[in-house]
């Protein structure tokens, strides 16, 4: 009888210990990754205000300045991302999303170089003609630069 109770106890303890170990590892991985892999969102004004250090990876969001898009060969593109207060020069190589246009809101992910140039490796635009990336909309609203949407947002969802 006591033997049975003891095995029950030890087995349960083994199980709890193993579960604890796996969960601890999972937690450790999450905390480690949180430090290292998370990307903040900044508008051009935030970049100036926060003094973002060159080399930090972040998401830059704002409007593509009218008349600023310049295309080179091999799909090199340069353009300015602006908000109400300032603008940042962005370089990117690759195909741009279908809805990338001047005057539109976009989000670019990449790093700031020491010269103040933002080298993007990903450019995201909206997926629907009436959709503004939410961070961009919020940032513009904060700066009082928001004109509101001209027509009610359309629903376009997948799944």
């Amino acid at each position: 009888m006591t033997r049975k109770i003891r095995t029950r106890k030890t087995r349960r303890l083994t199980l709890i210990a193993v579960a604890g170990c796996v969960l601890a590892v999972a937690l450790g991985l999450v905390l480690y990754a949180m430090n290292d892999t998370i990307v903040f969102f900044n508008s051009p004004a935030d970049v100036q205000a926060k003094n973002v250090a060159p080399g930090t990876r972040f998401r830059l969001g704002g409007l593509v300045k009218e008349g600023s898009v310049r295309r080179g060969d091999k799909q090199h593109v340069e353009f300015e991302v602006m908000d109400a207060q300032s603008s940042i020069h962005v370089q990117y190589q690759g195909l741009l999303p279908d809805l990338f246009r001047e005057g539109q809101g976009i989000v670019a992910e990449g790093r700031l170089e020491a010269s103040g140039l933002f080298r993007a490796d990903t450019v995201l635009a909206k997926h629907d003609e009436n959709y503004m990336p939410r961070e961009v909309a919020d940032a513009l609203k904060r700066q009082g630069h928001w004109q509101g949407e001209t027509h009610p947002p359309q629903q376009a969802q997948q799944n």
Partner: protein, 661 residues
């Protein structure tokens, strides 16, 4: 008129599901069979009402009834018929209606399963199912009515989002929803067991087929969605760790754990409380997924209708059902009889480890998906958690699980022998290590980790089939005997083998992405571009005019080492009604590998930006998922899972007599 009838049918369904919720619960409490028998009848009636409502909406779409707001916003008379039909669920309101329809469909099937499910369990289960139906019908009727009229009627519709005008959309959401919503049955059974305070192996036998079926559909749905994103978004990526994708991955991980834990419960009458909790969590994650996708709280490659009222309503449903079921669990679970004991080194022990890893992996996905939301609410900081986070957390938890998988599958029930198990896998270990070495040598100077991934994939496939070999083949016996024996193995064994081999195929496909070759260029007709062993020549660019879009189609000739293989076409479309451009990728398949061409913007000087990929073995990613679902389906056809089917005489199958050794 028909549209109003559909609207009315929905309201009627709401009333009927209220009855289906209250009366059977009361009947089960009072032990009154008449009241309990109300459950199946009303479940079928609700199904009929919701089915009718869905048909009327579909009819409005097919007949392009532009006096219905939902049709105006999402359809166009020039749209092909298939997209008129799939457009029904290509928008918020219609997709919620599909959600409820599938919910009722499952309720209807449970109602028809009279002979297999005990009456009390059936009554309680259908009552819980009805509670969910009530909540979502209220949601549809109060915040997302698809039947709202537009006065005066519009002359023409605004067309469906062009990204969604694709055969993929016709299949992806229904598959995904059958998976999502299918877990509601496991949830309802779990709540019913808690309400009744009784749970046993019979419960597990009843619940397992439902869970397995839902899991198969969810697997296919996720794979379909991934392939859709791959060819339709034109980025050549197949998984973005996007919150909406994570929303479907979380219930899949929890559901996979549930499928495995019900096996333990069925075979060994253990892990009862955990299985109940897992059933509740799996459906809670499905609800959470619905909330994330439908409420617009997350930014994602999918765009949303941001409507705070809807978000709040779904959040309310979420809180009531998750909170309620967890409270029920906390209150009633201690009353459940404790399960049996088992040894750590055994099949059931291995399945516990499986559950542990899957649950932890699911938790990391959960944190990665919801942490940005929490942070924004608490501090206002906006962050994005992307692939690097999940690679650093999810992969280290999944890889050990995959390494242990063939071991667990080979271990015996009750009391396993680790050394003997390892011995039975010697050949598999050896072959996998050889593959790693061969790939490393062959691709010297290339990616270093990917050959190990290939080895892992091979190890999983071989390790899965190893079970068949060890169970049917003995040294010195002719192969024909082994074949007959292998065919005599239970279907569920074959199912396990295929499902696990499917995982191996997915791993192979993912590892092979390390050898993807990408090249970018600006091309004029006659220009060439190369990726890997393939060269592409832009032949010409042809403008075309179709019913609801116009396009520039670029025709490419594909060569391999100077030999022509065929042509491939990639298009840049402009959907006229919405003024929205899309890119249609051109894909040429060679065996399991693909050449993928996507177009950039047309330049005024007649040149076009081109992105070319060579993606070796990429098809294995989705093929593996299909094999996994096939394995699940194979298990479903096992007689053991058909409770009503009389057990077949074990001696009957033509298994050659095995002489004692």
């Amino acid at each position: 008129m028909l549209v109003e009838a559909g609207h009315f049918a929905l309201a009627l369904a709401l009333g009927l599901s209220l009855i289906q919720f209250v009366v059977p619960l009361w009947g089960a409490r009072a032990n009154d069979p008449v009241l309990m028998s109300v459950a199946p009848t009303t479940a079928l009636a609700v199904l009929a009402c919701v089915g009718f409502a869905f048909l009327t909406l579909t009819y409005a779409y097919i007949s392009s009834d532009f006096s219905v707001l939902n049709v105006v916003e999402n359809s166009h008379s020039a749209k092909p018929l298939i997209y008129k039909i799939s457009g029904v669920w290509g928008n918020h309101e219609g997709s919620m209606l599909l959600w409820v329809l599938i919910l009722c469909l499952f309720g209807g099937v449970v109602a028809l399963a009279k002979n297999t499910v005990p009456m009390r369990l059936q009554a309680n289960t259908l009552a819980v199912q009805a509670a969910i139906t009530v909540a979502f019908l209220l949601f549809i009727l109060m915040t997302s009515n698809p039947f709202r009229r537009l006065v005066p009627a519009a002359a023409e519709g605004q067309d469906l989002n062009p990204l969604l005008q694709d055969p993929g959309l016709a299949i992806h959401p229904p598959l995904l929803y059958v998976g999502y919503v299918g877990f509601s049955i496991s949830f309802a059974f779990a709540c019913a067991a808690l309400i009744d305070g009784r749970i046993d192996a019979v419960w597990a036998r009843i619940v397992r087929p439902w869970t397995l079926a839902a899991w198969c559909f969810l697997t296919l749905g996720i794979a379909m969605g991934s392939y859709w994103a791959y060819y339709e978004l034109g980025w050549g990526g197949w998984w973005f760790w996007d919150p909406v994708e994570n929303a479907s991955l979380m219930p899949w991980l929890a559901g996979t754990a549930l499928v495995h834990s019900t096996v333990v419960m069925e075979k060994r009458d253990a892990l009862k409380v955990w299985t109940i909790l897992l059933a509740i969590l799996t459906f809670s994650l499905s609800l959470l997924g619905t909330f994330l996708v439908r409420s617009g709280v997350l930014t994602s490659v999918h765009s949303f209708a941001v409507d705070p009222e809807r978000g709040t309503f779904i959040l309310g449903i979420l809180v009531i059902f998750i909170g309620g079921s967890l409270a029920l669990f906390a209150w009633r679970a201690p009353l459940l009889q404790q399960g049996g004991l088992f040894a750590p080194i055994s099949r059931e022990g291995a399945l516990v480890v499986n559950n542990l890893f899957l649950a932890s992996a699911c938790a990391t996905v959960f944190i990665g998906t919801l942490y940005p939301l929490a942070l924004e609410v608490l501090t206002g900081d906006k962050i994005s958690v992307g692939a690097p986070f999940f690679n650093a957390t999810f992969l280290p938890l999944i890889v050990p699980l995959l390494l242990l998988l063939p071991l667990g599958q080979t271990l015996a029930w009750k009391r396993g022998n680790l050394l003997g198990t390892v011995q039975r896998l010697y050949a598999v270990f050896g072959a996998s290590i050889l593959v790693v070495l061969a790939v490393l040598a062959f691709t010297y100077g290339g990616p270093v980790l990917a050959p190990f991934g290939i080895g892992l994939g091979v190890y999983l496939v071989l390790g899965s089939f190893n079970e068949i070999v060890t169970r049917s083949w003995t040294r010195g016996k002719p192969l024909s005997v082994a074949w007959i024996k292998a065919r005599g193995l239970p279907r569920s064994t074959w199912g396990t083998v295929f499902a696990h081999a499917g995982v191996g195929l997915v791993v192979l496909g993912i590892s092979a992405t390390a050898w993807d070759v990408e090249s970018l260029g600006t091309m004029k007709p006659g220009d060439r571009i190369g990726a890997g062993p393939y060269q592409l020549r832009l032949e010409r660019i042809v403008p075309r005019q179709e019913a609801n879009y116009r396009e520039d189609a670029a025709l490419f000739r594909v060569d391999r080492n100077g030999r022509e293989l065929g042509t491939v076409e990639s298009m840049k479309r402009l959907y006229v009604t919405r003024g929205m451009p899309t890119t249609e990728a051109g894909i040429l398949t060679f065996g399991l590998s693909q050449v993928y061409v996507s177009l950039g913007e047309m330049q005024p000087n007649g040149s076009v930006g081109v992105r070319l990929y060579y993606k070796p073995l990429v098809l294995l990613i989705w093929l593996g998922a299909v094999v996994m679902a096939f394995g699940g389906a194979l298990s479903l056809t096992d007689r053991r899972l058909r409770i009503a089917a009389p057990a077949r005489n074990r001696a009957a199958p033509p298994i050659a007599p095995v002489p004692a050794e």
